[in-house]
């Protein structure tokens, strides 16, 4: 009874201390991760951080050097790809150029004891699902990039896999198409309820599509969390820097609840346990302008960014990098603009300050 309960409690996919080496180079360093059934997880990180390697290890296309991978409670670590349950879409789509769209989609349906009619029906269903109902007889080269991407998706979904793996599926498309497909894919995934892992190095893509984001850097996981968590509470300075914009100020703790930055003393939201040397982070949109009790700083540069205006500010405590603040367009208009050389009073709200130890 207990065993069954334990099994039910185990997440759909568990990656346990997986390490991958290419010769002396460590591409993945003791990576652990659990993915729940029906969840949409994004692996996000800079180029070369090991995202694709981890995805390929899950697929069995790359054998991990150490560690285990369990899917639905079964240890699949050593199974060849053909014995695992997943569908995959590559960045290149890897559509078979000499087969029609319908044959591509139906490629995995052969040899499963299905009748011709049943296969055809399934192909039609999938093409409708991805919004390409009439494109069956065409060849991949006759389709646009976005259409090809959807064919690849339909092909991966044809066999109803329990796990869908996507390696930068949108990166080959132009910005407009990419934005539309983000929503379509997310919608499709939610309707089908298929557990999905997507690799991307585009943070907007991860923030809009994922239920949870796995932020990776140099073969290790920096943080796992919902888009909101990784954005508002980045666990490390790397995550804070990688996702969104962030001001960094070097300082030293004076006591557990205050930090000294240059000639300024900033209050902290909660006591911090760390060495005296710290880095303080604050997002540009969290910097308050025209704060009555704020720090006086000089405007160095004003940049118009559409929805908001970015103001660069100088103060001796901010160091050579200065500090940037984002001002919503309506606030900007309401205060009658900001002029270069003008002196502003800035507020750095304690509850918005992020503190990272520095070694």
């Amino acid at each position: 009874m207990d065993a069954v309960a334990a099994e039910l409690a185990e997440p759909y996919l568990v990656i346990d201390q997986v390490t991958k080496r290419f010769g002396p180079f460590v591409a993945l360093d003791r990576v652990s991760l659990a993915v729940r059934d029906g969840e949409f997880v994004c692996f996000l990180g800079p180029s070369g951080c090991g995202k694709t390697t981890l995805l390929r290890a899950i697929a069995g296309l790359e054998l991990q050097s150490e560690g285990a991978i369990r899917q639905k409670g079964q240890d699949i670590s050593l199974l060849p790809p053909s014995a695992r349950d997943f569908g995959i879409v590559f960045q290149s789509y890897a559509l078979f150029p000499n087969l029609t769209v319908a044959d591509n989609v139906g490629y995995g349906l052969v040899g499963r004891g299905l009748r011709r009619g049943a296969i055809q029906a399934r192909i039609d269903e999938l093409l409708r699902l991805v919004g390409l109902p009439d494109q069956g007889p065409k060849y991949p080269a006759q389709l646009s990039g976005g259409q090809q991407q959807r064919v690849a998706l339909a092909r991966a979904l044809a066999t109803s896999p329990g796990l869908l793996l996507l390696d930068e599926p949108l990166s080959a498309l132009d910005a407009k198409v990419r934005q539309r497909l983000r929503l379509e894919m997310k919608d499709l995934q939610r309707r089908l309820g298929v557990t999905t892992i997507m690799v991307t190095h585009d943070q907007d893509e991860a923030l809009t599509m994922a239920d949870r984001i796995v932020v990776m850097n140099e073969g290790v996981i920096e943080q796992i969390g919902t888009p909101e968590e990784v954005y508002t509470r980045p666990a490390t300075a790397f995550v804070a820097d990688f996702i969104g914009e962030m001001n960094f100020l070097d300082g030293a703790l004076t006591d557990a609840a205050a930090v000294r930055v240059g000639n300024l003393t900033l209050a902290l939201p909660a006591p911090v346990a760390s060495g005296p040397e710290v880095t303080i982070g604050i997002r540009p949109e969290d910097v308050r302008i025209d704060d009555a009790h704020g720090i006086e700083a000089q405007v160095h540069h004003v940049e118009f960014l559409g929805a908001h205006v970015r103001v660069s500010l100088d103060h001796e405590a901010f160091g050579p990098r200065g500090l940037v603040a984002d001002l919503a367009q309506n606030l900007y208009r309401a205060r009658g603009g900001v002029a270069v050389g003008e002196r502003l009073r800035l507020g750095l709200p304690p509850e918005r300050l992020l503190v990272y130890g520095r070694s």
């Binding site: 180079f25 050097s65 150490e66 790809p81 014995a83 890897a94 078979f96 000499n98 052969v110 044809a158």
Partner: protein
């Protein structure tokens, strides 16, 4: 941390698919091991095998009326009579000594019976009527019967063959000759081919596509043919003989000229590829800097083509130094290495010395092969760099000069072929210029007749079909099959080796390996099969590289997708890989066919009376003085290859138009 050794590397469970892929790669790799490594290894051992007569071990006893006389060893007799063992010739595996030749006839006066005692071990050294009597046994017979008794030499291992080789001035001279001729030809061909390729890629001369085609024509004929053509043009009754100003065409001049003919297309192909890579931007920069065209040529054009030039030079050198057809026909009394192998083996039956010459020839071939591979790899790396293609501009003086060079070369190539065709069609060039098909009556000549021609077609067809299938499969496994581990690296290495082995060396090593009665594969010796096998192996590398290039152009995730969809790899191979690569597969097939039609070097050691080939027939007819029929047969090969090429073009076109997905 990063460099810690693996505590215990995980091992994957193997799917049935993996076993099939492993099995297949094992088959292809074993093919190369059996048809290349084993024969070469046998040849190396044979080259250090030394034979001598151990005549102390054989004793002779006479029976006279007085009964059996005292035993005397054959060696004793030799010392007493001063007989020269093996007539003073170096002892080889096939040498035989006869007691009758050693003991003077007079000694048999009054002898009734002779007893020969073999005191060696094992199989023994004494043969009677071709059968061993066995070590320790003896034979008795009348003095007249002694005729049938032969003594075999004993074999040992040592470097004596090599010391003999290098101590023999005539043999040593061949090394000098071979290098001189190969270097000389390279020195002529590379600049010529460079000018030709430059004209095709960088100038505005007219008739470019015609020139391109003409340059490739020599690939379609055996190297024997240009030599025969030159004999007609510059021989004793040649129309152009006065041009030689008293020099003879038989010798270095003829060899170099004929070699220029047959290596020219190879050099042009390499250099055209190299020159196509020009980057327009470099030339624009040179122009901005006011560099003269001459300076631009030296500072931009030549350096950019350097790997092509190196590659062309080494390929030319290898082709010439390993060729034996040309010196055989037109070499006169100039010996070269490749010809020495043939003479040692076919002429003197001295296989050990043939093996030694082979080893000597293998050395420069391997070195040249290695340099060429490195140069080609660098060249490919440059190919992938982003460049803006160059559009040639007209330049009157340069274009006219190049047109003259190209035209002369085209005349040289077509002239030689035309000469061969005329010689074949006239009653007796140059004396009786009436039309006749007499020279096509091959069945009346030695060499194999029309049967040889049909054998060639059969052999080339088998080679094309079986070779293409096997080579493509091997390349597919190397490039695409997942999880092959070390066997992939091994196979990749094996596939490159054949190119480093000259045809003569391959052929001779096949004699050693396959003609050994203890080898179970001995049954294919003397059959069509061994000709096909040797030809496939001989031309394996280029075909393999063509297949690899085609496979590399396909998306590398096809196999991963197919596995994720639980499809066996052979379904993807059949449904996707082969259809997509079909044009390249056809290219490999025509390459194998054409080369099988023209090759002489490996097969010359391996044909039997009922598997004579057209190219070998040319050689034999030329040897027998039937030069016009030899030319006629050469032209038959030429027309057959043209037909094959046309068929290939038509098929390729049909494939492209029948594959709807290729149309946009």
């Amino acid at each position: 941390m990063a460099s810690l050794p693996h505590p215990r590397a995980a091992r994957r469970r193997t799917s049935s698919d993996d076993w099939v892929a492993r099995g297949l790669i094992l088959v292809v790799a074993s093919y190369l091991v059996v048809t290349l490594i084993f024969p070469l290894f046998t040849m190396v051992t044979r080259s250090v095998e030394v034979f001598r007569f151990d005549l102390d071990l054989i004793t002779v006893q006479f029976q006279t009326e007085a009964g059996w006389q005292a035993e005397r060893s054959v060696q004793d007799w030799i010392e007493a009579t001063g007989h020269e063992v093996n007539a003073g010739v170096r002892v080889s595996e096939r040498s035989r000594e006869q007691i009758l030749r050693i003991i003077p006839r007079a000694e048999f006066q009054g002898v009734d019976l002779v007893r020969v005692h073999d005191r060696s071990d094992g199989r023994g050294l004494v043969m009677v009527a071709g059968q061993f009597i066995g070590g320790g046994n003896s034979w008795e017979g009348t003095p007249a019967d002694l005729r049938r008794v032969q003594i075999r030499p004993v074999g040992e291992f040592g470097l004596a063959n090599y010391t003999h080789y290098f101590a023999t001035p005539t043999l040593r001279q061949s090394i000098v000759n071979s290098f001189a001729i190969a270097l000389g030809t390279t020195g002529i061909v590379v600049p010529l081919a460079f000018a030709y390729a430059f004209a095709l890629t960088r100038s505005c001369i007219p008739f470019k596509s015609a020139f391109r085609t003409i340059a490739l024509v020599p690939i379609l004929v055996p190297s024997l043919l240009p030599a025969i053509g030159l004999v007609y043009l510059f021989g004793r009754q040649g129309i152009l003989t006065p041009l030689l100003m008293g020099e003879s065409i038989y010798g270095p001049i003829g060899i170099v000229m004929a070699s220029v003919f047959f290596v020219f297309p190879h050099a042009v192909l390499i250099l055209t590829t190299a020159l196509t890579l020009a980057d327009q931007r470099l030339y624009e920069a040179a122009k901005v800097l006011n560099a003269s065209p001459w300076r631009t040529f030296w500072t931009v054009t030549l350096p950019a083509a350097r790997y092509g030039l190196i590659s062309a030079a080494f390929v030319t050198f290898t082709l010439v130094i390993t060729d034996f057809g040309v010196p055989k026909v037109i070499g006169g009394n100039v010996n070269v290495l490749a010809l020495d192998i043939y003479k040692q083996v076919v002429g003197q039956q001295n296989f050990q010395l043939g093996a030694v010459v082979s080893m000597v020839l293998l050395l420069p071939a391997v070195v040249a092969f290695t340099v060429d591979r490195i140069a080609t790899r660098r060249q490919v790396a440059m190919l992938n760099a982003r460049t803006v293609p160059l559009v040639p501009r007209a330049h009157k003086i340069r274009d006219r000069t190049l047109l003259v060079v190209c035209s002369l070369m085209a005349i040289f190539i077509l002239g030689i072929l035309a000469m061969c065709q005329f010689a074949a069609l006239f009653q007796f060039w140059p004396y009786d210029l009436s039309f006749s098909l007499r020279n096509y009556d091959f069945d009346r000549m030695d060499g194999g007749g029309w049967a040889a021609y049909w054998n060639s077609i059969r052999m080339a067809t088998y080679t094309a079909v079986i070779g293409t299938a096997a080579i493509f499969l091997g390349a597919y496994l190397v490039e695409k099959a997942p999880r092959l581990g070390l066997s992939r690296d091994f196979m990749q290495f094996m596939a490159m080796l054949p190119m480093a082995v000259p045809g003569m060396v391959l052929g001779l090593s096949y004699i050693f390996f396959f003609n050994d009665p203890t080898n179970p594969l001995n049954t294919i010796y003397g059959t069509m099969a061994i000709l096909v096998v040797s030809t496939i192996t001989h031309f394996y590398t280029v075909a393999h590289l063509t297949a690899v290039t085609a496979l590399k152009q396909m998306d590398k995730e096809f196999e991963a997708v197919s596995e994720s969809l639980k499809q066996p790899f052979w379904r993807t191979l059949r449904r996707v890989t082969i259809p997509v690569c079909l044009p390249s597969i056809l290219d490999i097939a025509i390459y194998m066919f054409v080369n099988a039609m023209t090759t002489v070097s490996a097969v010359v050691f391996l044909y039997s009376t009922h598997t004579a080939l057209a190219s070998v027939a040319i050689l034999n007819m030329d040897d027998a003085g039937d030069i016009a029929p030899a030319a006629a047969m050469g032209m038959m090969i030429f027309y057959t290859n043209i037909a094959a090429r046309l068929l290939h073009m038509a098929t390729s076109r049909a494939v492209r138009s029948s594959q709807a997905w290729r149309q946009r």
